[in-house]
Amino acid sequence: MNAIGKLGLKQRYALLTRGLDWEPSYQPRDKVFPYAAFEGIKVHDWSKWEDPFRLTMDAYWKFQAEKERKLYAVLDSFAQNNGQLGLTDARYVNAIKLFLTGVSPLEYQAHRGFAHTGRHLPGIGPRIAAQMQSLDELRHVQTQVHTISHYNKFFDGFHDWQHMHDRVWYLSVPKSFFDDARTGGPFEFMIAIGFSFEYVLTNLLFVPFMSGAAYNGDLATVTFGFSAQSDESRHMTLGIEVIKFLLEQDPDNLPIVQKWVDKWFWRGHRVLGLVAMMMDYMLPRKIMSWREAWDIYFTEAGGSLFEDLARYGLRPPRYADVATAEAEHISHQNWAIFYQYTHAAAFHTWLPSDEEMDWLSEKYPNTFDKYYRPRLEMWREMEKEGKRFYNNGLPQLCTTCQIPMGYTEPGDPGTICFRTSEFRGETYHFCSDGCKDIFDDEPEKFAQSWLPVHQIFQGNCGGASVEDVLRWYRMNLGADNMDQAGSPDQRQWDAWMEARRRVAG
């Protein structure tokens, strides 16, 4: 025992990783690692893998335990002190509904994906790293569920998040994103999630939600955010190590990796549109606009990353320029989708106030007043006449990202972008060149897409009427859905605030 205690950090880490590897003798290696070869990635020397965890491994257990203790202490105090009353406004809670139903299940998907990858990568270094990340991701979903369970006691829409994740039309967007990654091979998964999502795009997901929480009095969410954040930095270093390692191992890997970078950048960009509308429309106290966040975290940070990777021959993702141009539009277009389909959503929407519209004009001087303010003002007039606009129809969905086809042509915000492909005599529709390219590369995979609108028409979603479908989603009609105004959430909040005023005299 004492001898082990005297080993250095590196030696102890080597025993944990390299020491756990062995050459199989009962089965050939390719039978032990059956997923290792089919993607066409060539690895000549796994020992060249530089494990990003090697120096922090020892501290890992101690830190994780410490973080858990702090987290649950904060959650207890939040619950005992009725922390929900410290929020800026009841509207804020909808951002957390979106997080729990849309993002937390992805943490679980990431846990499963890394567990699988941690079994199937032939190199022991990345195998251990993927297994550690798998544990982290499981911890993340647990902390989020525990945090949000408090909100479930007081607000609607939180009750059946797992059931909904597999069924509800807009949750099919993040779900299909991860299903796609997990059904790729282990190397594609590592580029999709480890590199593109965790390294390139994660700051656009976590920072806005956690800063949004901090700005809006949500101490509980800030706490799980910080608890996850220190893991995220480790996951990012794994993501960057993976891409460098694959590009260094063989020049034939470059076109494969490039294709994945292009694909997963675009898929991630589409999923992050949910965050865009959260930042610009859902936070009562705004942090920054989506446009500003995109400029900082993608254009600047991503730009220097891809300059660094250029020495391997890797270029920035295809359509990064289109995504940057879309940053002027995407939050407005997404909020328009949810505003008119909020009768079929498990969170509420509303029209921005005059002050919020002015903020949007200031942040989006090129687009908001010209294209989006008139739309919101028209709906405001309809609301005043007692005809709050709900779209009666079901939207056409993109076959790849599964989002309603509400995005406009690059350079022409007045025209919807329609793209199509033919495959085995059937037509497929896409919202963008990015989504069409992804389909065209793997039509056999995406021809199997479970598109919620088509599934309703096929009779697979509980019935033919919207109410039947919403019951099948397990939505509580009249509570979880519809406008924020008049919702049980809002009435409850107003009653609390009124009681507080009375007590304060």
């Binding site: 066409g40 739309r375 919807i416 059937e426």
Partner: protein, 122 residues
Amino acid sequence: MPIVALDPGYAEKIDVRDREENFHGNIVVYIHWEDHLSFCAAMAFPLPPDMPFGALLQEIIPTYYGMHPDFPRIDWPAVRWTIDGREVTPDPAASLRDHGVHHKSLIRFRTPGLTGFRGSGS
């Protein structure tokens, strides 16, 4: 290029989920009103292919687009139609199929002079 998959027979085993025969005799038809993007996307409808085009004009379009302030002002004979990119002059008595509408066709219509709330395209 063939799909990269672990199973060499993958391409032959897939279940194409949105085949026409899965829609109980209907076809999926998408309809979109140009310059009125307050309707956030084209809408999807499961329709019998022998339904007359006139039923779109009389029933479906008024039901789903009628709440827009531009709607009562539409000059229907002047409306311009495309089906999957082809310009067409619809015959209300002829069926969708007669117009070349097939499973997952996109019908777009433009209403000259009407470009949304205050001309904003919404």
